[in-house]
């Protein structure tokens, strides 16, 4: 019971702040909302009995990625940025696209086996780090390495783009 109350608190906050991210005019306020959203996600991860993922969420997204966001956004001319339209030109096709996307998501969720997750997972909060680590380095070693390779490629690309002589 208590768990459900907490879930709804976190979920409503998460959705609300996510909506705020796209609807707020001031980019810095949007970043704050995004931070709130990420923190709620972390809380939801804890409720799913995976504190490790929650902490990583806070560590990586809130602690590092968003700081970089802020770093860039703080340089913007806020008054001007606030006036700019998100999508220039006609809006109709955008709305149509979004509607299609929403429909697709609803369909996917209703068809998938995601509903099984709502059953309370094993009520255990310890030992999860070890399990995650083991799974990552045995069963999922190939995806893990592929992902790291992709990240490395992206990193190198950024460095190449950033070098002055090659531009």
């Amino acid at each position: 019971m208590a768990e459900q109350i907490f879930f709804f608190v976190f979920a409503i906050l998460a959705v609300g702040s996510a909506i705020a991210v796209v609807s707020l005019r001031n980019p810095v306020h949007s970043v704050i909302s995004l931070m709130v959203c990420f923190l709620q996600m972390a809380a939801l991860f804890v409720m799913l009995r995976s504190p490790f993922i929650a902490v990583v969420q806070v560590f990586v997204y809130v602690g590092a990625v968003l700081v970089l966001f802020l770093f860039v956004i703080m340089m913007l001319d806020i008054a001007k940025a606030g006036m700019e339209r998100f999508v220039s030109g006609g809006k109709l096709w955008v709305i149509a696209l979004l509607g299609a996307l929403l429909l697709e998501m609803v369909l996917m969720i209703s068809r998938s086996r995601l509903s099984a997750i709502t059953a309370p997972a094993a009520g255990r909060l310890t030992g999860t780090v070890r399990e995650v680590g083991e799974a990552l380095f045995t069963k999922y070693i190939l995806p893990f390495e592929v992902v790291s390779l992709i990240l490395l490629v992206a990193l190198l690309g950024a460095i190449v783009l950033g070098r002055k002589e090659l531009r």
């Binding site: 902490v55 806070v58 703080m74």
Partner: protein, 327 residues
């Protein structure tokens, strides 16, 4: 039921202690500063100026709370709180000792609020959030120097958090656990991690100084060039919140160093563990204050090159070598 009650009591006690800590710390800092500079430090309020922090507190409370006209009022108000909350939340998983038996009730109490499986990661992640208060405070002030302070703070945090976390990984590899209680237990009997991870210790200490914005890395509030930096526009209690955050961060960083590298509450048996723990933490706090009044501030480009070109490669090499030794 009694468990829940105990957790509640522990939370309240720890919060109160942490809230009150900056009072003696400001006094000690000013006294140490005074004596290092061959002065006396605060002397007039109470014997040897011992009541000075209370006088300061009262003064700060009754000062006018100024919000600049062009500031973002909402963010300006909330930024000190954003800075302060993570500094306190960190203490949720910091252990101060192992079990003690309460003298009268004869009930065993753990000297930590929770022993999280992901303890050290949690602390690093949450402690990193404090920087938002600084960045947003700097931005919301809508003035040049605070903005520069905020920018510096964000770049500094990104650069040094990496080295800080990598320095922890060496310890985690040796101990095989992320839980702080396990890390301390593994060091009992003089197997302190500083002996096995001297490089990690040095990196952690330096990066930690940068993380909590202390001299020689206090560029976000550089008095010399930024005129108090990110909190230049703050006054009254909001300014006090920033100060509070800074001192609490100093305490938690010292505690973290003690737990990770200096054996936590491990020490010769003639004193109880908690006393050893507090002694070590006090010593580290003294060292941090001592360095503050010994060294000048680094230049910003020097700060960046220390972070990226020295500490980060060193910490990576440290992880590599630790891994090789363990295998």
């Amino acid at each position: 039921m009694i468990e829940l009650l105990l957790i509640g009591i522990k939370v309240v006690v720890v919060t109160l202690i942490v809230f009150a800590l900056p009072l003696p710390l400001t006094y000690i800092e000013r006294k140490v500063a005074g004596h290092i500079q061959v002065r006396l430090g605060p002397y007039r309020v109470g014997p040897h100026g011992i009541l000075q922090p209370f006088a300061d507190m009262v003064k700060l409370m009754f000062k006018e709370d100024i919000i600049p006209a062009k500031a973002d009022p909402w963010l300006f108000r909330i930024a000190p709180v954003i800075a302060m909350v993570p500094a306190f939340v960190v203490f949720a998983t910091i252990p101060f000792g192992e079990k003690v038996t309460l003298p009268i009730l004869n009930y065993e109490v753990n000297l930590y609020i929770s022993n999280m499986d992901t303890g050290i990661l949690y602390i690093l992640a949450i402690a990193g959030l404090s920087v938002y208060g600084i960045i947003l405070g700097g931005w919301a002030s809508n003035s040049k120097y605070p903005l520069l302070g905020g920018l510096r703070s964000s770049a500094q945090m990104i650069s040094y958090e990496l080295a800080l976390s990598f320095a922890c990984i060496g310890v985690v590899m040796i101990v095989n656990s992320l839980s702080l209680v396990d890390i301390v237990k593994a060091q009992s009997g003089w197997h302190w991690n500083i002996l096995y991870q001297p490089v990690g210790f040095v990196i952690f200490f330096i990066a930690g100084l940068a993380e909590i914005n202390r001299i020689p890395f206090d560029l976000p509030e550089d008095e010399g060039t930024l005129g108090a930096g990110y909190h230049a526009e703050y006054s009254s209690m909001r300014f006090a919140f920033f100060m509070l955050t800074e001192y609490v961060a100093m305490v938690s960083m010292s505690i973290l160093i003690v737990l990770l590298f200096l054996g936590g509450w491990d020490g010769p048996a003639f004193l109880p563990g908690i006393v050893w723990f507090l002694l070590k933490v006090a010593m580290l706090i003294y060292i941090i204050i001592w360095t503050r009044f010994t060294y000048p501030r680094y230049r910003y480009d020097q700060l960046m090159s220390i972070g990226w070109k020295i500490l980060l490669p060193l910490s990576l090499a440290n992880i590599l070598i630790t891994g090789l030794v363990i295998i």
